[in-house]
Amino acid sequence: MTQVTDRVLDTPLELHPQVALRPEPFGALAYHYGNRRLVFLKHRDMVTVGRALADHPSLAATLEACGIAASRWPSFAKAFASLTTSEIVRER
């Protein structure tokens, strides 16, 4: 795993308050009302994790609480690192 994704696992995150998530057959859509970015999330579990972020001390703790298998953590870390860049998710 790269340093960036390692760091994001330890980071306390939350959904940006201006973001809405909408589950879809392929995963989910995330829309940021502030910067008007639309992002495609490729798995429904991203919604579950995304909505739980603010209740846990880090992304890793959130993944654990949501019952995400450890083998999938790297791909979640990568996805949330990218969502931080597009401001869908932010550090708290």
Binding site: E24, L29, Y31, Y33, L38
Partner: protein, 381 residues
């Protein structure tokens, strides 16, 4: 998931549109020669304020993120601000297209004060002569004045860049850099879209649409500048020229987008106001939700589409056969090449079409032609 498999998923349709175009009125102060909805005069059957609010309630329940409001000129409606404020209050972002005629200093301040509002000012030339030939006398000055008011009201600082929205034609294609510079000078963002042979555009498309050489020019310009301009992903037919342009490479009609017209009829996209592409009405039992989820037309559009005559062409994966509306209104078969196929595959068929027999738009709200135009002096008289 790769971009390609995402597109494959989207073609099966979504539980609700990502965004939706809603033409609020057929009334317009202008009479642009390429108007997609043949607008001019209000239709007496247009949705009332209450009916429009019930539709917004449905869109809220469906979690539609934002709507593109257009017309006609949407600001002509007396309840324009009431509906926009109602939509935003229900969590639906609003983008609206306008020619700017009703954006004075006071309205610019009022628009600036709204959250989640985005504005697209239509402009089809970077000089009055080029623009007004398509959009009518005085329309260039009107658009510039509106943008000046938005600048003075601090719209960009508060809400982010408004958009300058350009329909690319044979006559303005050389101005793309100038449009970009104009947008930059206001802190605005440029949006360019494809000319469609829809509405009054059916009558002017043959004279206005870019030549084959100009299509290459648009493609090259978008490859160089595409990340900074918006296109509504409308130029995907150009992908057959090489690498894919930024954006979704697919027709979203009835799958991820649709149109609600001023009288509440629901069409597959803003470019196909014709009975053949009418899925139902928001006034039907079950409202918009029922039309989106279960109408026969939309169900059919979400089935795998045949490549038809394009199946043997190596570029089909790149261009997907192009735009359904462009084929339909130029009289071409829907399972064949786009009239602007960059490989020239439609040129033969297009020259065989009897223009008088091509499908006509469902409705024409154009204003009656007045005979008060200035007479053109004839040499020698």
């Amino acid at each position: 998931m790769s971009a390609e498999s995402l597109v494959a998923q989207l073609k099966h349709g979504l539980d609700a549109p990502i965004c939706l175009t809603w033409e609020l009125t057929y009334a317009c102060n202008l009479a642009c020669v390429h108007c997609l909805s043949s607008s001019g005069q209000r239709d007496p059957r247009e949705l009332s304020t209450d009916e429009a609010k019930r539709v917004l309630d449905e869109l809220h329940d469906l979690q539609v993120f934002y709507i593109n409001i257009g017309g006609g000129e949407p600001m002509v409606r007396r309840d324009f601000f009431e509906l926009v404020e109602y939509a935003i209050g229900r969590g639906i972002g609003v983008k609206f297209s306008t020619n700017g005629a009703y954006i004075d200093a006071e309205k610019a301040r009022r628009l600036t004060a709204l959250d989640y509002l985005d504005i697209q000012i239509s402009l089809d030339g970077t000089d009055a002569a080029t623009n007004d030939a398509v959009r009518g006398a005085g329309s260039y000055d009107t658009a510039i004045r509106a943008m000046d008011h938005l600048r003075d009201a601090g719209f960009v600082e508060r809400n982010g860049p408004f958009k300058i929205s350009v329909v690319v034609t044979r006559h303005n294609v050389d101005q793309l850099d100038e449009f970009k510079a104009l947008a930059d000078s206001y802190g605005a963002q440029l949006r360019i879209t494809r000319l469609r042979p829809s509405g009054r555009g059916a009558d002017t498309w043959h004279e206005l649409h870019p030549t084959n050489a100009q299509q290459r020019q648009i493609y090259d310009w978008l490859m160089a500048n595409g990340e900074q301009v918006l296109t509504g992903d409308s130029f995907f037919h150009l992908n057959a020229l090489g690498d894919s342009l930024p954006g979704l490479n697919m027709c979203g009609a009835g799958r991820v987008v649709c149109l609600i017209d001023p009288i509440g009829d629901v069409y597959a996209c803003p470019f196909v106001i014709h009975d053949e592409f009418k899925a139902g009405s928001v006034r039907d039992a079950g409202g918009f939700t029922e039309v989106w989820k279960h109408s026969a037309l939309f169900t059919d559009l979400r089935e795998p589409q045949s490549a038809g005559a394009c199946a043997s062409c190596g570029s089909w994966n790149a261009c997907q056969g192009g735009c359904m509306a462009a084929k339909f209104f130029t009289g071409l078969p829907l399972d064949g090449p786009d009239p602007e196929c960059v490989g020239g595959a439609a040129d033969g068929a297009l020259s065989q079409v009897d223009v008088a027999l091509t499908p006509r738009p469902a409705m024409d709200h154009s204003k009656p032609v007045t005979l008060t135009r200035k007479l053109i002096p004839v040499a020698g008289n």
